[in-house]
Amino acid sequence: MRRVTTEAKLLLIGIPVFLWTMIPIYHLFLFSISPKESAFGGKLWPATPTLRNFEIVFQQKHYFLNFFWQQLLNSLVIAVAVGVITLVVATAAAFAISRLKVRGGRLVMNLALFTYFIPAAFLAVPMYKTMSTYGLLNNQWALILAMVTIAAPYSIWVLKQASDKLPWELDEAARIDGASPMQLFRLVYLPLITPSLVAVGTYALLLAWNEYLYAFLLLSKEKDVTLGVALGLFMAADDSPWELLMTTGLIYALPPAAIYYAFKRYMVSGLTAGAVKS
């Protein structure tokens, strides 16, 4: 009897949690499989589900979607570039601070943390003006560099935390064996730190793929923007076809969800460990 009450109580929490989480996502999905006419009926399942919307999006058969594939590619290229550059920058810095104990390393760590704690929306205004000063506005490099700037601090911190846990004896042994700093980095450090690298790379990649504010400030040409910004442009029009907008949105949301699930075990342990410890 006691067990049944416990299960009932759990369900009483679980069902609202499920509905709360899934309603906006289901609504997105519902629109994407609804024919244009029936999308607005307030139905919970379309009378005639269809994949027609996906066909229109993939074949770019609407003037809002003229650059769909290009924009999808832009999102991909920018996300991958941010992931890779962040990894290089953050790994180098974390190795120098944690394993080489470079002088000034603590200062650099603090500067990075400081950057991490400035709300990104506040940094966006000066960043926009700066990119304009550098002549990088409407150049995809502006977005890549800005996103690396935002992703690197936390990445460095996570990698430094992970690096600090590696046994110091390994470094000692390598040094005594006459390893150079770069050999230590390549042969000892990188193999040991790989799980954290996966976590950090995924974090930066997702951050860049999902970013809206910086993308819409720094890029504006229809051909250059990411899919997220394209959705925003799409929405701004009065005659925007909702079902196509939602279909595109669903397509845009799928890769990050898939990547998250693929790297979930790295992400959760890598990214929450630090927070819990503090």
Partner: protein, 292 residues
């Protein structure tokens, strides 16, 4: 090459690196720091300095204070922070207690539960925006279907619109904080609960005397960190209400961008400078915590 040195010669007590080598290692350390330092100088320090320089005229602040939208945004920001963060954190703490139960269906639910956090904001917030459309949205359609009355014009009332933006913010960030608190709860030794239930402690007493004391610091840190992120939450407001109706639902994060779009950069920066007295103590506190 490394095999030339017999392992027996390795001293058992770890020693500091040999003096002669120090410079090479230090030099490499400095070289490896260059990329990040470059990013910091060029894309953080310079922009911040430039931004502050743009906001140097006292007149900008006078204009800002005379702009009724600014006052409105400050109030909205405070409401957003106060309500959004506390509601979110309390629910997250509560739900973390739910998600630590070991059931297969709860495991699957936790997989779905993370979705709002993992997917980009724009499609899901637009989805909510369409749901709330007064004429065609599914919410009002259902209200009409079941009650035969027209539902409210959700996003056209400043208070409903702001509440909805807070709701969207909570929807988006709740999974992350729940995950953090789940990790926090799992770090508490299970024997403490076993001992407590043997002693006949109620669920509430277990929470009050075991869970809460172990989670208090984490809860406080999370609340402060969440405060910084919530202050910078541009998407929830901008994508849902666009600051409307009539610029009544702006928060500081969207107001700065609004001024920027209107080409009033000095005002944009001034509004951000006004938020600094709130942001900097938080930043300082968080830095002290994390740089240990």
């Amino acid at each position: 090459m490394s095999t030339l040195v017999a392992p027996e010669t390795v001293p058992t007590i770890p020693t500091r690196p040999v003096k002669k080598r120090l410079s090479t290692w230090q030099m490499w350390g400095l070289i490896l720091l260059i990329p990040y330092v470059f990013f910091f100088l060029v894309f953080v320090l310079f922009p911040v300095g430039y931004g502050l320089w743009l906001a140097r005229h006292p007149q900008s602040y006078v204009n800002l204070i005379n702009d009724p939208i600014f006052a409105k945004s400050v109030i909205n920001t405070l409401i957003f922070l106060l309500v959004g963060i506390n509601v979110k954190m309390m629910i997250a703490l509560f739900l973390s207690g739910f998600f630590v139960h070991t059931r297969t269906w709860i495991k699957w639910l936790s997989v779905l539960f993370i979705l709002p956090w993992a997917v980009p904001s724009i499609p899901t917030i637009l989805s909510v925006r369409f749901m709330l459309n007064p004429e065609w949205g599914i919410v009002n359609s259902l209200i009409f279907k079941f009650f035969g009355v027209d539902g409210p014009n959700w996003l056209n009332n400043q208070w409903i619109a702001l509440s909805m933006a807070i709701g969207v913010h909570i929807w988006k960030s709740l999974p992350f904080w729940t995950l953090i608190f789940v990790a926090g709860r799992l770090a508490i030794p299970g024997e403490m609960y076993e001992a407590a239930s043997v002693d006949g402690a109620s669920k509430w007493q277990q929470f009050r005397y075991i869970t809460w004391p172990s989670m208090r610091t984490l809860y406080l840190t999370s609340t402060l960190l969440s405060m910084i992120w919530t202050l910078g939450d541009f998407n929830s407001v901008y994508l849902l209400t666009g600051g409307g109706p009539a610029d009544l639902t702006h928060v500081l994060a969207t107001l700065g961008i609004r001024y920027l779009r209107l080409d009033q950069v000095d005002m944009a920066m001034a509004s951000i400078v006004c938020a600094l007295p709130l942001v900097l103590p938080l930043v300082y506190f968080m830095m002290k915590r994390l740089s240990k």
